[in-house]
Structures are given as C-alpha cells and as structure tokens.
Symmetry: C2
Subunit: 335 residues, 2 copies
Amino acid sequence: MTTIRDVARLAGVSISTVSLALNSPKRVGVETLDRIQQAIKSTGYRIDPVAQTLARGRSSLIGFVSANLGNMFFGDIRREIEHQALDHGYFVLIADSSGRADLERALLERLEAQKIAGIALAANGRGEEYATFLRDFKTPIVMFDQKVEGAERDFIGSDNPLTTTILTEHLLQLGHRRIGFISGPSGLHTADERLKGFMDTMAGAGAEIDPSLVVEGGYTRTGGHAQAMRLLTRRDRPTAIIGANNMMGLAALQVMQEMGFRCPDDVSLAMVDDVPWSNVITPRITMVVQDAQKLGELAAQRLLARIASPEAAAEPPRDFILTPKFVRGESTRRL
Amino acid sequence: MTTIRDVARLAGVSISTVSLALNSPKRVGVETLDRIQQAIKSTGYRIDPVAQTLARGRSSLIGFVSANLGNMFFGDIRREIEHQALDHGYFVLIADSSGRADLERALLERLEAQKIAGIALAANGRGEEYATFLRDFKTPIVMFDQKVEGAERDFIGSDNPLTTTILTEHLLQLGHRRIGFISGPSGLHTADERLKGFMDTMAGAGAEIDPSLVVEGGYTRTGGHAQAMRLLTRRDRPTAIIGANNMMGLAALQVMQEMGFRCPDDVSLAMVDDVPWSNVITPRITMVVQDAQKLGELAAQRLLARIASPEAAAEPPRDFILTPKFVRGESTRRL
DNA sequence: TCACATCATCGAACCGGTTCGGTAGGCTGA
DNA sequence: TCAGCCTACCGAACCGGTTCGATGATGTGA
C-alpha cells in the first residue's frame, strides 16, 4: 500500500502539502501540484477512506434504512438514492430494519458510529421518545415515506390520505357500500393517514362504516393474507376490499383465488402502490401509485445538499408531499 | 465522545490494558477487568469502529455485490446473508452493479479501499483477465450464482444445465418441437450453462433446433420483452418458449398478453426462477426454481468462516452446487 | 525603500484505536 | 536460594490521513 508519505517523499514536499493538493488544489503552486500529481500517478496512490474518515470525523458513506427492501416501492427509492449518491462520490450502506423499531434504532446508532455522512430513513419507530431520539441525532437525516411528528427533519412523502380517498370514492361511485379495509400497523404515519382517508371519505359520503370490516394487516404479506381471509370467510362479506399497501392488496387477491372468488365479479379490489409485475397479474388491479422515483430523487437531493453545505444543513426542515396517481385497472366493477 | 483514554484514566490503567480488556478479557486480572468495565459503563464508552478499522487494517463490514437487487432471487440471498452477518457483528454494505462489469470492478475496488472484511459476489465480469483480478484480490471473496472460471474462489450456485434440461424435457414430453429459447447474456456463466442444458437436451432427443428461435434477452425485462416480441411476431412462431430467467419469462408472458395470445392455449411458457407474486399471476407459470435461501445461507457461512479463521481462509476453494426444483404450473400444455 | 499583506509550504499535533517488546513481581522446582 | 517462567500490565510506535499555526519569500502601495 502506498501512502501519502510515499507520495510526499517522491514529490519532495511535505505530507501536508500533498494533502492540500488533494483537497484544495488551487492553494498549491502549479509546479508543485504537477510534481505531486506525477508522484501520485507513478506510485498508483489511492487515498485511504478509512484514515480520512478518522481524521475528518465524517465518512463518505450514506445510510439507507427502511423496513422492507423486497417491496418494490422501497427498492425504487433505494435505486434512485444510490444512483445520485454514487454520482457525488458517496457509497450507500443499506440496512433493513424488518419493520422493527428496536432494530431500527440499533442500526441507526451503528451507522452513526461509522461516522456516516447522512441517512435516508423510512422510520418505523414512533412516539415522542423516538421523535426526540431522531431530533437529537447528530448526523443529517432525511426521512421519507414515514413521517415522525416532532423529529424535525426533512420529509419526503406522498399525500397519503388522498391515496385512499381516491380509491374509496372510486368504489363508492361504483355503488359499493360494504368496503373492507386492510390497514397498516396502527400508529405508523402512512397507515394512520390512509385509514383516515378511507374513514373520512366514507363518512363524507354518508356511507355507514362497519368497524368489523376494518382490519389491520401490518403492511405485510402474511398479515394481509390472514386479514383478507377473515374478511372473505364472513357470511356478510364486503363487496370490495381496499389494501392499504401493495403487499396486502395482492395478498387479498391471492386469498380470493384460493377461495375461488372471482375478482372483480365476486369481490372488487383496489390497493395503494404498484408491484413490478402488475401487468401480468389478472385482473389488472386498480390502484393509486406513488412516484417512488421522484420521491427518491428528492430525498437524495435534500440529503446530499445538507451534507455538502453548512448553510443547507442549517435550513429549517421542510416537507415535500407528492401527489399520487390513480391507475384504473379491471379489478373493480359496478355493483 | 468518550475515548479509550478516558476509560483508561478513570480506571487507573493504561490504554493498552483497556484495549486488552476489550479484546481478550482473560488476559487481564479480574479486579482490573472489573474496574475497567465499571469505567466503561459509567462513561458510556462505545468503541470507535473507524479507528479500529484503521488500526487493524480490517473493518467489520461485509460487501454484497450483485447485478439486480430488484430481482427477488438476489433479494432473498441478500436477506439471508445480511441476517447471518448481523448475527456475527458484521454490517452489510450493498452495491448494485446493474450488470455492468466495469462498474462492478470499480465497486469492488472501492469496497477494498474500505478495508472490507469480505465480499459476496455475483460476478458480471468475465474472461481471463477478470478471473485474474478476482484471484489476486486480497480480500476474501465468496462467489455465488455466477461462477468465474479461474477466479479460484468458493462458489455457491445451482446446477444450471439441469434447470433448462428439466424444462426442455418437460416440453418435449408434451410434444413441443419448435421451442423458443430466450437466453441470458452470452459469456455469462449461468446463461451459457442454461443455454447448453437446452441445446443438449434438444439434441439428445433428436429434436432439430432452429437457431433463429434461440435469442438473447440479456436477463433483463426489456431485453426479454424485445426478444419475445421477435419470436412471437414470426409467422412460424414457436409453440413454446423458455425464459432463461424469471424476468425474461414474465416479459414473454407480458408480450403474449399484449399480442392477444393465450397461454398456454396458443403458446406454452416455462422459465427459470420464481418471482414473489407468481401465485397471483395467471396462468401459474411452470418453472424450475433455485433455493435462494439455502444459497445465501451457504455463501454467508463460507464467507464468515474464511473471515474468522486463517485456517479456513487457507482452505482450497470449493464449489457448492444446489439442485433446483421443478414446479409445474399451468402455462404449458400438450400439443 | 520599508511596512505589511499574501502566498506557498512545512512541522507537529491529532483522530482513536491496536500491537509488540519489555518489565516488575510472584511462583515453581531443583 | 536462585534460575527460569508466568502473569499482569505498561510505553511507545503505528495505522494514514487532516488541520492549524508558523515561516520565509514574494508582491504591493505609499
């Protein structure tokens, strides 16, 4: 391994000059700079990022923490962030919290110990104490998807109440009244908002809500499957089901197929968010999709800006709320 | 930030003793050890992994490099490796090469600069020069999925010729003779092997192979889509199509739907590897699936072992070949 | 021509650990 | 009683960079 000292010796300058040449070339004489660059070339010197991190107290790593990388939604965001980060010379350290708040917290602390430059976080922790933890975190954090009230961080997400408002209105217009709603983990930002969108829209239309048709599927495939099963085995089963996310929506479709219900003939289905192969799934599912790419793009920009400049870092946190898009499929029918 | 020196001062010992206490507690007197642990507790001292990495020349990070994290196959492997790594105190640094060999190489070099402890790699580079590069890499590497001949590293993969052999035999038995084959990038280990499995089985059965029915879809969705389109717009289109991986197989199904062909009535379809929501896709696709979890498990074990002990590190590289499983769907019919 | 600012460069301290050679003291056995 | 060996601990060098205050040389304006 060739070090900065080897370069300095070869170029006949001090190590501090080499360091200067590397970090602010304009502050070094042209001729000296040239000699140093020659020396670097001929020794094949590569800066040691670990030593640099130790000395600077900051690495050039960015953390990406979310609940479920397998979900295409997070995957798309990750890809976008990774892309931009690489462009700016950052590496992305990815961590999957599996939706567990305690694990998530441990991961964040580990990332901080690595002197990570910044973190993009889809939080699963909740509550005031967690908000304080996030607020007092010394490392820049940009939150996406899940907002934690009181964390006082940039947030990039979608208009979640709108997602279910759109779907609910759509179903109401088709004449549905008994609508089953498979919700996410209560207490989680997006889950609560999506549930609210559904409830408010129903109430606004004067449609009665049967509380037993509102179930919690935990945003997971298995949870969604179990709850869809509960809904569909009832004698007075709903005429339509809304899945508050893609995994639970598809799980509901799976249950229908397993139980021999035809969609939409027997039961209508709508869900929030897309999945990669939705266009080969029969029937084409009616959904409201978030712009994951845009979301990742904004998150990355925001994070990189805060990392790069102290002024940007000092800016008050902002919320960026994207508008989701309605994609009509063939999984809903008029009653 | 409290450092090891603060702890040493408080415990009334030297820093080297604290370091000893941390790394090999048995070599420190019980009473001293106790004082040190008290001091650690009361100061809330947390070891600095960056400084440790610099001093040791090795970090406690593990790299995971593959072509496409979005593909469930790699996702499952990643999850398994991540899981085991965390258990052993390692963090996983994930990098997506997007299938580009040059980018992959750059990523590997970056990981090495981070003094990464080990790397799990699904290689996309090929050729002798690349094999040499991998062989001379100083960091432990375990390769999975894609074998690079001459790299002399542990390899965990599946019996690739068998995957397509099974599918081809299945189709032959159903009476198909004009079988379209959408292959992966030629030169890539798994792609070549799967193609061979197809060709050999066809030849072995005395079935004539129309070379124009063998196309290259690059293992990608878009590539698969384009090639399936080519196959299916022919007047003398094949009666069945084999996709050499899941993305291309589904892309072929998508093309059929777009063109109004019914599967399997008009064209039969079979593919290698599953996707997460295959059970809500109509028709259920006939496929041969690899055991991704087992594969990840083996890769992690092998890598962690080599990292942990010099003896294991010195062992000659081994190949672990898993047997894929045939899953019959409803996407193939008797001619 | 002189005081002073500017520029290019350097030396040394520092980031926070690990590791190795050494030493003092106590124990063993002949 | 003493050589020889552990055991428990320490000091210092080291990993490979960054950063800041200092210094001599050069340029500027009055």
